[in-house]
Symmetry: C2
Subunit: 268 residues, 2 copies
């Protein structure tokens, strides 16, 4: 079982920022990534639909004998994680809890901003999870739906990106935040522009990094680490348009995407 792969899924390419952190922090683990590109974006869909899609993604990975599942999608983590943990007999972790825990530790003044898709922010998942860790925190959530399109266009360093970030983030200054959670898997790509807008005194929390740390801890505790120390295998599956995934995904993963196949998801 320890040689079995770890399964990671997301609604598209975004989760590759999580995969990248997992590759760095767990360099001997075999990984299978599934991007549900036929049904992206999850962020604007209903709760019921997101739960159904997440269940299908997890089933697809389970059928490939993964030893644990990482829900790399913030939207799916915020809405469907509990259901997945109930319905699957392997460990399932999401990105919300690691990101929220880190934010509650990093902040000095207790004023924390969270940015993400409309669905993630409206679900209140980060907000309530942060309050679990730090009862007196003030958490301000701002949906930034344009960021994903800007990043997928490759415009992360453009004046459009900067102006958009200013438009979304100005409100955070009024709340005197000292910590900002990048609550969407795409956002780490935009972190330099975001940092420029929020200034040097606001610390950015990257849930992708924190999730990989938690995953490592989980594998150690459950005695599931792959200790073969062989070169790991990486496989990628998408439900549509593999060439677009390969092209855009390279910017997320910072390495070439090989072993990529298209796979049906509707009927799982």
């Amino acid at each position: 079982m320890n040689n079995s792969p770890i399964g990671i899924f997301d609604s598209g390419v975004g989760g590759l920022t999580v995969m990248r952190e997992v590759m760095e922090q767990l360099p001997y683990e075999n990984l299978i990534y599934f991007g549900d590109t036929a049904r992206i974006p999850y962020g604007s869909r209903s709760e019921q639909t997101i739960k159904k899609y997440a269940h299908q993604c997890a089933t697809l990975l389970k059928n490939k004998d993964v030893k644990t599942i990482v829900v790399a999608c913030n939207t799916a983590s915020s809405i469907a994680l509990d259901d997945l943990q109930k319905n699957f007999d392997i460990p399932v972790i999401g990105v919300i809890d690691p990101g929220a825990r880190s934010a509650s530790t990093v902040t000095k003044n207790g004023h924390i901003g969270v940015i993400g898709t409309t669905a993630t922010i409206n679900s209140g998942a980060y907000q309530s999870k942060i309050m679990d860790y730090k009862h007196d925190a003030e958490v301000i959530g701002i949906p930034c739906p344009l960021f994903v399109s800007i990043i997928e266009e490759g415009w992360e360093y453009s004046n459009v990106a900067e102006l958009t970030a200013e438009k979304y983030l100005t409100e955070l200054f009024e709340h005197d935040i000292d910590t900002l959670v990048l609550g969407c898997t795409h956002y780490p790509i935009l972190r330099y522009t975001i940092k420029k807008v929020v200034g040097p005194y606001v610390k950015l929390v990257n849930p992708a990094f924190e999730t990989a740390k938690d995953l490592k801890q989980l594998l150690i505790e459950k005695n599931l680490l792959n200790e073969s120390y062989e070169l790991p295998k990486y496989e990628y599956y998408v439900s549509d348009a593999p060439e677009r995934f390969r092209r855009i995904g390279g910017n997320f993963l910072k390495k070439e995407i090989n072993n990529l196949s298209e796979i049906a998801i509707d009927n799982l």
Copy 2:
């Protein structure tokens, strides 16, 4: 049969700009709109997937006894219209041909720009259709994927919109265009900002308007006009998130959306 409704489908809310033109030009027709919000956006999906989705949308409308189908989605029109016309026994019209024909008539110098989603522009559908009507035209296609997100955010008059339009459209000036086709159903919402950027000498062609004109002509020719002169019935169906559709759609239709239901599309 003449009292039967006209069916209109799109991948989401965008096609409401077409529905609006149909309401104005054909005020006695009953209309059924289907927005495939569970699977939007079509613009970044593969050809095969777009054809499958379009066939399912048309089947859904056919099952509701429509007398004709309008493919309001530019992406689906450019990729799936021929298939639909072959496979359904009622008239099916798209938005590409009316838009292309109008552009070829409007232009004086033969230099025509077309903007749309990546899939629409890459399909070359507008470009080749315009050349059919005007062999010596020079047609420049520019994909503007950010426009849809900007419009759905309600930012059509913002400085982000203007800067984005400048970034996308500057290339068109080098080609000295005098006509610009708004080749995505969302874009009429952004027309004032686009007009500001391209200047007063470039004429904008709105395929939604031209399609409604063609539809009227088609109904007259086929003897299918509804001549009951009763107040028409409007029904709306979406495959996901009806509340979001109602909220954003109002801005497209410029009237309230009633008679809205959610309906499954996957298994058609």
